[in-house]
Amino acid sequence: DQQVKQNSPSLSVQEGRISILNCDYTNSMFDYFLWYKKYPAEGPTFLISISSIKDKNEDGRFTVFLNKSAKHLSLHIVPSQPGDSAVYFCAATSTGAGSYQLTFGKGTKLSVIP
């Protein structure tokens, strides 16, 4: 049972345009959501997060939107740059659980075309 789903395994976007990566979750106990970026043969690095008390968090070119009623979040990258080409993982956790486990989606491979 996949509690965090990234239904698009890959996405191609032209440089300068907007990239939108989507993520759905099923566990209503999740209250903190994160996006990680991963280059090949490297560990994932934290990109941006959002708490369930917010519906939007912005950091430079990256914005995460959360729709709790739909159990859906999305990552917007504007403008997209070739260096953004990587695999993006959505992750979720329940902060009350104590062990701070993250549940990851399967990832979306973003390719930004120059």
């Binding site: 990234q6 994160l34 990680y36 043969a41 490297e42 560990g43 994932p44 690095t45 934290f46 997060s49 993982f89 062990s99 701070y100 486990q101 993250l102 549940t103 990851f104 989606g105 399967k106 990832g107």
Partner: protein, 110 residues
């Protein structure tokens, strides 16, 4: 600042051979530690996590095991590797706000 090390970076092992991957964290005390595996075409699968020395929780049944002999050392082991153990193994530590990943070990079982 905190750093996390994993070694080796790459490993090629025959089926049936043992495995030992090591992870160490510097610059923090009593971190939560995690082992993940990313298999080809799949996401990040949590294998083990530890909240303290000698405390290991397993998330999936498998022929792998983990140990935490010291506060900042986490070891992933196997007595006999299977072909299906091939993948990219990641160690991570948590400060209860984020998880920080190591550089990973690429394991190929032949």
């Amino acid at each position: 600042s905190q750093t996390i090390h994993q070694w080796p970076a790459t490993l090629v092992q025959p089926v049936g051979s043992p495995l030992s991957l090591e992870c160490t964290v510097e610059g923090t005390s009593n971190p939560n530690l995690y082992w993940y595996r990313q298999a080809a075409g799949r996401g990040l699968q949590l294998l083990f996590y530890s909240v303290g020395i000698g405390q290991i929780s397993s998330e999936v049944p498998q022929n792998l095991s983990a140990s935490r002999p010291q506060d900042r050392q986490f070891i992933l082991s196997s007595k006999k590797l299977l072909l299906s153990d091939s993948g990219f193994y990641l160690c991570a530590w948590s400060d209860l706000t984020l998880q920080y990943f190591g550089p990973g070990t690429r394991l190929t079982v032949t």
